[in-house]
Point group: C2
DNA sequence: CTTGACCCTTACGCTACGTCATACCCTACC
DNA sequence: GGTAGGGTATGACGTAGCGTAAGGGTCAAG
């Protein structure tokens, strides 16, 4: 007849020694023998019982219930299992509801973000918002995420102010395309633009470098380099931004 | 500005006072003011925060996570919610598996029971098992349930023995239909029959009365009172059982 | 001033163990 | 026979989110 000490049985059954101690303490699984030194020794019968315990545990029964199941031969197994099934069905239903609520909430938040972004760029060249966001997401996903957070935290009035400032600043710059990018007037608008960008760019990091990157973005964007309106707007912006950024050092 | 003491806030939000104490202790929701006497006073802001806490709690977030959500404005809400959604989906999957296993187990047990009953009556008049079980279920559902438990607990060899004894006893009785139900030979078989019935009837109670009822059942069953084989078997059994039962007192 | 409703803190209980800390036991090797 | 390196034992605290007393102040109404 095989005898198992705690560690051996634990390994066979895939549980911890502490678990066996615990089961012994609460009387769920007691060793067949205690040696003179107090060692627990389990036999085949105990191993079998442990298997059953683990089965019911896997079924999410509480240990006290498992005790009842195994110790009371009068126990109506089928009924117990059916009760438990009902229990699980309720849990499942609850989770289902939670998932639906979560989906709604996520949807809500995402729409809110999108709205804000589109709002923010209202008054700017069409589709800039979406395009810019997409490009930014590819280059600096963390920054963009953070930025969206910032916007969501903002109060409606603050948000409105920021939006107006942005719009005004952008139009002013657009009207300066034929001026010298290094001129104080242009640089003043660029400085303001920089501040605005920072307001929702926000997160610390190499802001100057990021801003330079934004200049590259503008310059590379066909919407600002080609077309009818202001063919040189993109490169104008980049030159102004580069100059400004270099002054920051 | 409205002020709420613990009980009031608790009632409004539908939580316990202890919960508010707890939230204060862990810093999740601290009162706006502490009076000189140490009373907690909450304002509207705290009520709002509590609502949010409860929302996330409803979503099964841990309190520590809720703390992070509410206290860190940088928190990426959407990502957090999506993570949580994955978490719930896994839970759901697990429950699904559990339910399937449960169904299998229940099915297994029920089939096992049915099999046993049919096995038990193999060799007896056809369909007696099912019919008898049905009738018994209507009259003494608890007894029958218990009986089935007994059978399930029985070892295969014990079960086989019981089956054979039952079959032999029944055939012996059937062959005695033309004898005197009160004769010692018949009574001996009835006594054995009684013992066998008790073996899976088992549960204490008014066993003698139940056995008499079984006699009535036999006598009322057209299969034992009419037909070709042994037209008087039913009433023979009842007379024998009644006589036997009366001797028990 | 008393009563009753409300408030406070302290602290154990619950589930199923994980994780030390401290100390004893056992076997093998020298 | 001593010692090193296993394995073992018994506490006892920690976890999450409160429930549930115990023991004792506070406040407004009558």
């Amino acid at each position: 007849m095989a005898q198992y000490a705690v560690k051996k049985l634990a390994k066979i059954a895939g549980v911890s020694v502490r678990t066996l101690h615990h089961y012994d303490n609460i009387g769920l699984l007691q060793p067949a023998i205690r040696t003179a030194a107090g060692y627990r020794l389990y036999g085949e019968k105990e191993l079998l019982r442990l298997q059953q315990i683990l089965f019911y545990k896997e079924m999410d029964f509480e240990l006290s219930t498992i005790s009842d199941l195994l110790d009371d031969p009068e126990f109506d197994m089928v009924t117990a299992l059916q009760h438990h099934k009902q229990h699980l069905l309720q849990k499942q239903q609850r989770i289902q509801t939670l998932l639906q609520t979560l989906d709604k909430t996520i949807d809500h938040l995402q729409n809110k973000q999108k709205m804000n972004y589109e709002d923010l760029y209202k008054g700017l060249p069409k589709e800039q918002a979406a395009a810019w966001r997409k490009e930014a997401m590819e280059k600096w996903p963390d920054q963009v995420k953070h930025s969206e957070q910032q916007l969501l935290q903002m109060s409606p009035t603050d948000f409105e102010t920021l939006k107006t400032s942005f719009s005004t600043n952008w139009e002013t710059l657009a009207a300066m395309t034929d001026q010298d990018p290094h001129s104080p007037e242009v640089q003043e608008q660029i400085a303001q633009h920089y501040q605005l960008i920072l307001q929702f760019w926000g997160k610390p990091g190499n802001q100057a470098a990021a801003y330079k990157g934004l200049g590259d973005l503008y310059a590379a964007d066909p919407r600002y380099t080609a077309g009818k309106g202001q063919p040189a707007f993109g490169s104008f912006l980049r030159r102004a931004i580069y100059y400004f950024t270099d002054q920051l050092k």
